[in-house]
């Protein structure tokens, strides 16, 4: 692959396939399309518009937006003038946004609409380095008179004017970009401490895409769906770099709530999703099946196990019996193909899960219905993705093998380290962290892993999260949590037990599915807290916990659990924006509850401070029941 920057790839695509579709967005109920020529025209206008505002090489453009064609165009535009796009999680709270924009020294901020503009204007006092705020959607902004504000339309107009005055300027700027230039700041959420801004160069991104293209086949006519936060490296990897390099089409959903519907309309050829989305899809199917007619329920219950069994045997490279083959064929016809089509995976060649480990049950579910779901593994600091399971060599619980251009090793302590052209430039304004992460050219991941006998990498947990009970039994909390989360009724779980006599779990119920379940059983409830503390709900979750326990070694089974009164929320810093549990923080915040899991108390009181939207605060006191696994049955036996 030629050593080029992303804007140079854009020029190439616009030259070779000007009319082919590059970006699409559903607007006003219709998929609106940008060809590569349109994409280039917007990038040219935005880039020169930025130049007219004094945006120069090495300046930073922060972006706060859902997935829109304009966001990707603005990112490439910043790169085209040698600047750096800094996507920020669009649902971040003010303090996080302030930190990232300020730390990145952003000069211009690109926002989607009034909601994001309001956030920035509220923070204006502490964002001294910001010179301009660009907004895409003018709705509700008519009476805003802040001199910082400028509409995207006006910016593009200025750009077109400058283009007319100085033709060739844009090409000149793009020509001056170099592969080793920093192409992106990606602030890693980090389960510990403040976010760090990883500087990723064009050649990092290009090498990472090159790595996956050595294994997988992507086509110029492929469709993909860009629906994950642009601030997540996974989205940049596929929707920005992947699309520009391969030349395939990126589709942006109409609204965040319509993603599943849009997924079905687009029928992407490849798709990446974090475990949360795959778990949600399984829950959706399970809940819909529970409401389906008896014929469908019967077929599903009859053929699904055959599908899972065949998928498992295929992965273990064992032959399928004639009976299994027949059932599978029947299942394909009656259940699997319709289900794939219904979910929008009718023509999906590759489906990836990444970002966090996915429970084996969920994984098997999708393989059973014939979706080529594969685990990918990587990190922001290595351009996004560096390991993928190969077709025909899929194994449960592994993350596959490294890309051909990536060297992966384990240290004596079992930490994953890698060396490749994808390894990032360093953390912005943080040489200590950079030095701690890149040592002798090796990127230290902080993940504990091992290689199995077939050379597959098996990631166990974050190295510092693998822990042991008081009696020395080792266990990986995340592994148990993922098993719990397979249940349609459990949304999130935190497993504890370090230096304790047994394993305990704090569980978030899935409000929607448990709510439906309760409605079917005519159990009245008011709030999340109320529903979670229903005796019947504890019984329901007891079955799920016992199911998980059956698959766990005797010593690490869940002994006691509690259903939490609120969902873990990134706004409360309990989970990261990519929904990884921040263990240290949670352990401190819920210390009382965790202690109660190891006492004889039947319940624990919690006081929570609730801030209403108008700023009033109130304290609410609730009792949370502590349930011992098997308790209900023991009582029944007495």
């Amino acid at each position: 692959m030629p050593a080029m920057t992303l804007p140079q790839f854009l020029l190439k695509n616009a030259r070779e396939h000007p009319g082919a579709s590059a970006l699409r967005e559903k607007e006003k109920g219709i998929w609106q399309e940008w060809s590569w020529a349109d994409y280039l025209a917007h990038v040219r206008a935005i880039a020169l518009g930025l130049v007219s505002l004094g945006f120069r090489r090495d300046d930073k453009l922060a972006l706060l937006s859902d997935n829109r064609p304009q966001v990707y165009a603005a990112m490439v535009a910043a790169q085209a003038v040698g600047g750096v796009p800094v996507p920020v999680y669009q649902d971040s709270i003010a303090r996080e946004i302030q930190y990232v924009i300020d730390h990145a020294d952003a000069k211009v901020v690109f926002t989607e609409d009034q909601e994001q503009v309001d956030k920035i204007l509220d923070l204006k006092g502490s964002l001294k380095k910001v010179e301009r705020v660009i907004y895409e959607d003018p709705k509700g902004l008519r009476h805003y008179r802040d001199p910082l504000l400028m509409s995207l339309e006006e910016l593009e107009e200025r750009g077109r004017k400058l283009d007319a005055e100085r033709p060739g300027l844009f090409e000149e700027l793009v020509g001056a970009t170099r592969p080793e230039d920093v192409a992106l700041f990606c602030y890693t959420s980090g389960t510990t401490g403040v976010p760090k801004g990883a500087m990723i160069s064009h050649s990092n991104l290009v090498s990472a895409i090159e790595g996956i293209l050595q294994i997988e086949h992507y086509d110029r006519t492929d469709q993909m769906l860009a629906y994950l936060p642009p601030a997540w490296i996974g989205d940049t990897f596929w929707s920005l770099a992947g699309s520009l390099i391969v030349g395939c089409t990126v589709n942006c959903p109409e609204r965040p709530e319509t993603v599943l519907e849009n997924l079905r309309e687009i029928g992407p050829h490849f798709l990446v999703a974090p475990p949360r989305i795959w778990e949600n899809l399984v829950s959706t199917v399970q809940v819909k099946m529970a409401d389906a007619s008896w014929v469908k329920r019967y077929l599903y219950r009859w053929l699904m196990p055959a599908g899972e069994e065949s998928a498992r045997r295929t992965m273990e490279k064992q032959p399928l019996s004639l009976r299994l083959r027949l059932l599978r064929a029947l299942g394909e016809f009656l259940v699997f193909a319709p289900l794939r089509d219904h979910l929008g995976f009718g023509r999906t060649r590759y489906a990836y899960t990444g970002g966090a480990p996915l429970g084996p049950e969920v994984f098997l579910f999708f393989r059973a219905i014939g979706i080529n779901l594969k685990q990918v593994y990587g990190q922001t600091e290595a351009g996004g993705v560096s390991c993928v399971q190969r077709d025909g060599d899929i194994k449960l619980g592994t993350v596959g093998k490294p890309f051909p251009n990536t060297e992966v090793r384990l240290t004596e302590t079992g930490e994953v380290i890698s060396r490749s052209p994808c390894v990032f430039v360093g953390y912005y304004k943080n040489p200590e962290a950079t030095a701690a992460t890149i040592r002798d050219g090796w990127l230290h991941s902080g993940d504990a892993a091992l290689f199995d006998q077939d050379g597959h990498l098996v990631v166990i947990d974050r190295a510092k999260d693998v822990t042991a009970l008081a009696n020395g039994t080792k266990f990986a909390p995340q592994y148990i949590e993922n098993k719990l989360k397979f249940s349609a009724y459990i949304k999130e779980a935190v497993v504890v037990g370090q230096d304790r006599p047994y394993v305990g779990a704090m569980i978030n119920i899935d409000m929607e599915n448990v709510g439906k379940w309760a409605e079917r059983r005519q159990i009245a409830y008011t709030t999340y807290t109320d529903l979670a503390q229903k005796r019947e709900v504890y019984d329901l979750i007891a079955q799920e916990v016992e199911r998980v326990n059956r698959d766990l070694p005797e010593g690490t089974r869940i002994h006691k659990y509690v259903l939490l009164h609120k969902e873990l929320d990134p706004d409360d810093e309990e989970v990261t924006r990519t929904r990884k549990v921040r263990r240290g923080f949670v352990a401190k915040k819920y210390a009382d509850i965790i202690d109660a899991l190891y006492s004889k108390a039947p319940a624990v009181g919690v006081t929570s401070l609730i801030t209403y939207q108008d700023g009033r605060q109130a304290t609410v006191r609730t009792e949370l029941a502590i349930r011992q696994v098997g308790e209900a049955r023991e009582l029944a036996a007495v």
Partner: protein, 257 residues
Amino acid sequence: MSALVEIRDVSKAFGGVQAVSRVSLDVQEGEILSIIGPNGAGKTTLLNCISSVFHPEKGTIRLDGHELTRLSPPRVAALGVARTFQNIALFRGMTVVDNLMLGRHIHMKNGVLRSMLYWGPGRREEVAHRRVVEDIIDFLEIEAIRKRPVGSLPYGLQKRVELGRALALHPKVLLLDEPMGGTNHEEKEDMARFVLDVNDEWGTTIILIEHDMGVVMDISRRVVVLDLGEKIAEGTPAEVKANPQVVKAYLGTKAGA
């Protein structure tokens, strides 16, 4: 400057109950005017008089110089008055899109026979109206529920769809009868934002009945207070709040007592 809506000495009684008595009111083009008052003050009756659900016994109501007082509700709608109702008036079995398309009905020119043909002007008109409806769907951010039957939606969303149905008319004056009634805090904030945005984007004049004083004081340019069918105060939110008569009507005691 003459007012967009001129209400002159309007009275309406039901049997022996004088619901509205001798109310006069000017509504300026492009303003948000709130009507407040205790239960039974005659707020909804006044709105019903404007949209010609009831005809007042005395007095006149004019829109842009046209006398509305004796017209039928469809005629009033055709002149550019749209409204929402306290207890949501939508076709519950129909989808959101279909309900909004019905809101366009007054602008549809083709007859029954032409509309039944798939090709030709019938189809072109359908497409044109669907475009308007999609603009409203986009505006109210209800894309995700476009194809859902209205009856299956939560109450707050139904209220938003009803606002959409009224907007589909492209009215000059929008009458909103308790658009935030029975909704939760977040839905209230959303609705308040949409009301402001409608006023802002399209310059639609809005007459609003609302019980939530916080919302009323925040979004109205002027407030009119009714009590027992009579207008007892009129002015900016701050003026009305300071008016001793208003305090008395609401608290039933003398101000400061």
